[in-house]
Amino acid sequence: MADQKTVVEPEAGVPYRRMMRPMEGRLVGGVAQGLAAQLKLDPVVIRLVFVLLSVVGGVGGVAYAVLWMITPREPYQGEPPARDWSQLAAFTAIGVALFAFGFLTGASRGGVGMLPFAIGGIGGLILWQQADPERRKHWVSGATRSIRKNRVRTLLGVMLVVAGGVGFLMVEGQLHEAGQGLLLTVVVVGGLAVIAAPWLAGLWKELQLERRERIRQEERAEVAAMVHDSVLHTLTLIQRVAHDQREVTRLARAQERDLRNWLYQPAQDADATLAAAVRRIAAEEEDAHGVPIEVVCVGDIGLDSGGRLAAMLKAGRQAMVNAAKYSESPSISVYAEVEGEEATIFVKDRGKGFDLDAVPVDRMGIRESIIGRMERHGGAARVRTEPGEGTEVMLTMKVEKQ
């Protein structure tokens, strides 16, 4: 008989637990025992119910099989204990006897009418059993609350259902043939839906979880790749050139810029807008010459097809190169602004400066690459410098307001 030791009592503080199939004391699959533990009944009662239902239309067998499939086995250490074959034989004998009795008296034929109820009941049971305790509580309290809250509506609904049912029964006299089949179909489909619902819900939840996990893993992989490819690489390089302060600074700066872009900057196409292009050029020249270039951008505009802004950018690059190479300034400030119909770029250093008039005529850097280029494209360039005062190059270009 039922071995009470094996029926694990629900732990204190956990009013509901998932139904399990215990290994110890099982007769077939442990379903009846599990169900008994869940419903706090004697397993014998459950077994008898199963036998009875199996005889009447075979529903018990189906229900048992379904429950066997969906209920997890209770974890059990060691060799699975042998079944109590004598008990099994006793229940089989009862079943066979009942079946014979039913067959002889014809009672089992009425069993088809029980099918919808049986399926519905099993479905509900499964739904209940699959749901987690929190949701069960929620269902119960939700249902009672909504009934209490909407008494009129509930009453109306019940009345409608009853009226509909009565009407259906009255008409059924005529639609007897079709009605029976339709009703059974509806019941079976409903039962299947009820059975499948928790499983589908569980599957969906699992899928979502898996997707979230995958996204997280991808993100982690991206961060790891970023840290590995750039940060670790740079740190290694810095250790190797530790004696060269300038190179160390350059490496650290480049890495810092990279990391900042990655952290804060929206993915930008460096060839699409003025601000993005100025940032890219400043980064390239900073890398090439090892002098920090601070960039501040206000407003922005798409690069024009006529190449006027491209010319301005080239002039700006030349100004940065000059400042980085000749000014001996510890840092360079670049300010790009688009306001109204004018784009402006300032390149300023605090270096040694020079006498503009004393620049030899054959030196093309400022005269041609900056001033000449800007003027050819309809813009203007102004250079302010004095020995010891640093240099500022100002480039302006008319743009079409966007």
Partner: protein, 210 residues
């Protein structure tokens, strides 16, 4: 002698700043998180607090909220590696009187501390750029025209800061005194802190410009 409290969760950085600050600055203490910072400010009563933006327990903005919320008059200078727009605008609107990035030189930091201690504002070129961008002309109607827009002079000053000019150079450029430059910058700070300008908050959160 300006008395300074350094609030930063990186010990190395705190000792670095301590070493870099000139003789005219007295570091009276250090704090490494929000709680210890609030406590130290109440106990030590420094003139200026160097405040890190990112810290465990809510960051610089939480310190600002708790200290300034209790009616304290201490001045804050935000100091951070981040120059993301939402961080910069966030601490300024939280009540800091200036924002500088951590790669600032020791001499510049000393200047900035003295300026904040005198009740003036300290704008880095990047912060100036942010403000110009945020207050850029727009068709949206403003609630308070005085607070919600910059004067022509203020724009000029900010533009020069963004171009990398020091206050002294700005004064020379615009033929005004350094004190007037400081007045303009303080006025911009006040607008930045008090303006309900719709674009300002939206801009700071929507754009993750560096």
């Amino acid at each position: 002698m300006t008395r300074v409290l350094i609030v930063d969760d990186h010990r190395l950085f705190r000792s670095g700043v301590r070493a870099e600050l000139g003789d005219s600055i007295e570091v009276v203490g250090e704090a490494e998180d929000v709680d210890s910072a609030v406590k130290a400010i109440a106990e030590l009563r420094p003139d200026v607090v160097l405040l890190d933006v990112h810290m465990p327990g809510g960051g610089g903005q939480e310190v600002l909220r708790r200290v300034l919320g209790s009616g304290s008059q201490v001045c804050f200078l935000a100091l951070s590696v981040s120059d993301a727009a939402e961080d910069v605008i966030g601490v300024i609107r939280g009540g800091a009187r200036g924002y500088v990035t951590k790669n600032i030189s020791g001499r510049e930091l000393t200047d900035a501390i003295r300026r904040v201690a005198d009740g003036d504002a300290v704008f880095s070129p990047r912060l100036a750029g942010f403000v110009l961008d945020a207050f850029a002309s727009s068709e949206a109607p403003s609630i308070d025209p005085e607070l919600d827009s910059l004067t022509q002079r203020e724009r000029e000053v900010l533009r020069l800061i963004a171009r990398g000019y020091a206050y002294k150079e700005i004064a020379k450029e615009l033929f005004i005194s350094v004190k007037t430059v400081e007045t303009h910058v303080s006025s911009v700070l006040r607008k930045l802190q008090l303006s309900n300008r719709h674009e300002l908050s939206r801009w700071a959160t929507a754009r993750r410009l560096v």
